[in-house]
């Protein structure tokens, strides 16, 4: 463990420059450049708002703002996009960098860290946009929004643990990536992002509680839209199980790393 941390420290420059290059090359030669990072999620929120606000707005209790639904949607998206970006990119990170892994000696653990780093940068920009949109709609988030970094840590731990685990397995069984792309879509709809928990039948609610993303997303909505602090006791199990998942992922990664290059 100590070795791994030391290696990460020695390669910090590489990790940072990879994150920078990742962002740079994603928007290289596009006219709007980094603006796309903001425009894409905004467009998605705008579409959902347009399509669904008529149906949903009546059912968002406790908030009188006309734009309440959009704000609700935006907070949920903020949480989800961080999670789904880390999971879906971790899934293929080893396969995509196969030729590098085969030819160059470097701490392999850098790769998932680069994924997390660039997802965090993206998500941070989205957070800034979210706050600006909130302010423009006259609903500047309260002090409870300061909980966001803590919620991000929770989300990252869960996403990285899951992503690392599946990313390692995906090197050996490539179906996992395809399968997870479908699962992620389904998962999105099984999490109250575009709809409210109030419309869920009570019988299904107990199942909903098994979804870690349910807790994380509702806390995001809580601190941003409803201005209420997180229920720490409900987040604690998520954080603990995320850390356990992360440790299992790391152990699996260490076990599998030598085998990985053989099959890449």
């Amino acid at each position: 463990m100590k070795e791994m941390l030391l290696a990460i420290w020695r390669y910090r420059h590489f990790i940072l420059s990879s994150i920078r290059n990742d962002l740079r090359s994603r928007f290289a030669r596009s006219k709007l450049g980094a603006l796309w990072m903001i425009l894409q999620p905004l467009a998605q929120v705008a579409i959902y708002s347009l399509v669904l606000s008529r149906i949903m707005s009546a059912k968002l209790p406790g908030i009188d703002s006309r734009y309440a639904y959009s704000l609700y949607l935006l907070s949920g998206m903020l949480a989800w996009s961080l999670f789904s970006e880390i999971v879906s990119r971790s899934l293929t990170v080893f396969v995509d960098n196969g030729s590098m892994l085969k030819k160059i000696v470097f701490p392999r653990v850098c790769l998932p860290l680069i994924v997390v780093g660039s997802a965090l940068v993206n998500n941070f920009l989205l957070l800034v946009v979210t706050i600006v949109v909130f302010a423009l709609l006259g609903e500047f988030p309260g002090a409870t929004a300061l909980w966001i970094p803590a919620l991000m840590v929770c989300g990252v731990a869960f996403a990285l643990g899951l992503g690392l685990l599946l990313g390692v397995l995906n090197v050996f069984i490539r179906d996992i990536n395809q399968f997870m792309q479908v699962i992620l879509q389904l998962w999105f709809w099984l999490t109250p992002i575009v709809y409210m928990t109030t419309i869920i039948p009570p019988a299904l609610m107990s199942w909903m509680r098994l979804n870690p993303m349910y807790w994380i997303v509702t806390e995001y909505q809580g601190v941003l839209v409803y201005g209420r602090g997180p229920e720490l006791m409900s987040l604690l199990p998520i954080l603990v199980s995320s850390l356990v998942l992360l440790i299992v992922g790391l152990l699996l990664f260490r076990k599998a790393a030598p085998d990985m290059v053989d099959v890449l």
Partner: protein, 425 residues
């Protein structure tokens, strides 16, 4: 005094076939299954290399050379044994890995240097050197996608050799790029070696191995089969290839470097053997510049032929004809050959050609052109290498035996270039 910089101890590599990936996952948890098939690609490889030594690694494609190199660099784990290296290992087989076409040369260098484990401060210190060595001018600050492949290779090589490694692994990579830069690269490699860098060189270019290495090892089917002076090992390597070639009875012969010899013709007569012999009658694949050698063609006649002309042609590595003639021009047309007749043509010549690889094309026809009756035509019937071992260093495709003299008023000195000896007259 020598001490090993690199010690390869009984290294072996096996790829395991699990049948099912679930069985592989179970193996991480410590469950051993009897149904795992092990497939050894490298076994019992052991040798050590001292500081400043240059070792060539030869072997046919698929013999395990690159697997060994990957284990030495550390990207691939050994299944048994270990590699002990003192100091930093750099490999030129990974040239340009991790380069991003949308970044400039400078940005790519900064990034990839980080990947090589250099600190930011160290990279900044190395950058001016890298820029100067690459000699690509203003392009260094242009996106990589605007580069020619030669320019990319210049940047990549400059980066790979920016700091002197303790062990440098040189793969075929150096065969690309312009001649000027390749020379510059070799100069830098030689300089590293003088400063104590150990070289591991993998190449199909036998002349390069002979010129650069003090030692060679040969790997065949995953085993170390020879370890010794380059000439000895290369001779063994040639013998191995020759053995493989004679075993082939098909008309399409694939050479060790991936070249394919194709025979065409109507088949009334055919070549049984094409070889080059030195003046002692030994079959050789290396010819020294200016050495006298015999090209020997053995012909077997299968059907009655009224008129048989044997022709041959030497080509350089680019396929340009260096020299070619036939028995029609020599006034030695064979008349009325009978089935079962064997003829041997022996063409003695001095290899007054430049260093490099040459191929021999041979033909059997009824007249001076193979277009009338082509009994057999074979390209790449033989490939041999001309190396400069005895003569003065020279450039160009032709060796002109030269005698150079310098006259000073008082004491004239003359150099006899052909022998390389200098003496006062």
């Amino acid at each position: 005094m020598t001490h090993a910089v690199l010690e390869i101890r009984n290294v072996g590599k096996s790829y395991r076939e699990f049948g099912s990936e679930w069985r592989r996952f179970a193996s991480w948890l410590g469950f051993r299954s009897s149904r795992i098939k092990e497939h050894w690609v490298l076994r019992n490889i052991g040798f050590s290399v001292s500081r400043g030594e240059a070792v060539g690694i030869v072997g046919q494609n698929g013999a395990g050379k690159s697997t060994l190199l990957k284990i030495v660099t550390g990207t691939l784990g050994a299944s048994e044994g270990k590699v002990i290296a003192a100091g930093r290992i750099a490999a030129i087989l990974e040239l340009g890995m991790g380069f991003n076409p949308d970044l400039t040369g400078r940005q790519n260098v900064e990034h990839s240097a980080g990947l090589m484990g250099f600190s930011l401060a160290h990279i900044q210190k190395l950058l001016p050197d890298i820029e100067a060595f690459a000699e690509i001018g203003e392009y260094f600050d242009e996106p990589l996608r605007t580069y020619s492949s030669g320019m990319q290779m210049r940047v990549a090589f400059s980066l790979a050799t920016a700091a002197r490694p303790d062990v440098l692994i040189v793969d075929e990579a150096l065969s690309v790029g312009d001649a000027y830069f390749v020379h510059k690269c070799f100069k830098r490699i030689r300089q590293f070696r003088e400063e104590g860098t150990t070289l591991l060189i993998v190449s199909h270019d036998k002349a390069a191995i002979q010129a650069l290495c003090d030692r060679a090892v040969m790997i065949d089917k995953g085993r170390l089969v020879a370890d010794g002076a380059p000439q000895e090992v290369l001779d063994l390597y040639n013998a191995l290839i020759a053995e493989k070639e004679t075993a082939d009875t098909i008309r399409q012969v694939v050479g060790d470097d991936g070249t394919t010899a194709i025979a065409s013709g109507t088949g009334e007569a055919s070549f049984e053997r094409v070889k080059i012999e030195n003046t002692r009658g030994e079959v050789v694949e290396f010819v020294g510049v200016g050495d006298t050698v015999d090209l020997v063609l053995d012909v077997l006649v299968h059907k009655p032929i009224a008129s048989l002309v044997i022709g041959y042609m030497l080509r350089d590595r680019l396929g340009q004809t260096v020299f070619g003639t036939n028995t029609y021009h020599e006034g030695m047309v064979i008349a009325d050959a009978r089935p079962g007749d064997r003829f041997q043509l022996r063409a003695r010549f001095a290899a007054n050609v430049g260093v490099g690889s040459y191929s021999v094309s041979v033909a059997l026809a009824s007249s001076e052109t193979h277009l009338v009756n082509n009994y057999e035509w074979r390209d790449l019937a033989l490939v041999f290498t001309v190396a400069n071992t005895m003569r003065t260093t020279f450039v160009g495709g032709t060796w002109l035996p030269t005698s150079v003299s310098i006259r000073q008023d008082s004491a004239p000195i003359s150099f006899d270039v052909a022998s390389g000896a200098a003496g006062s007259v």
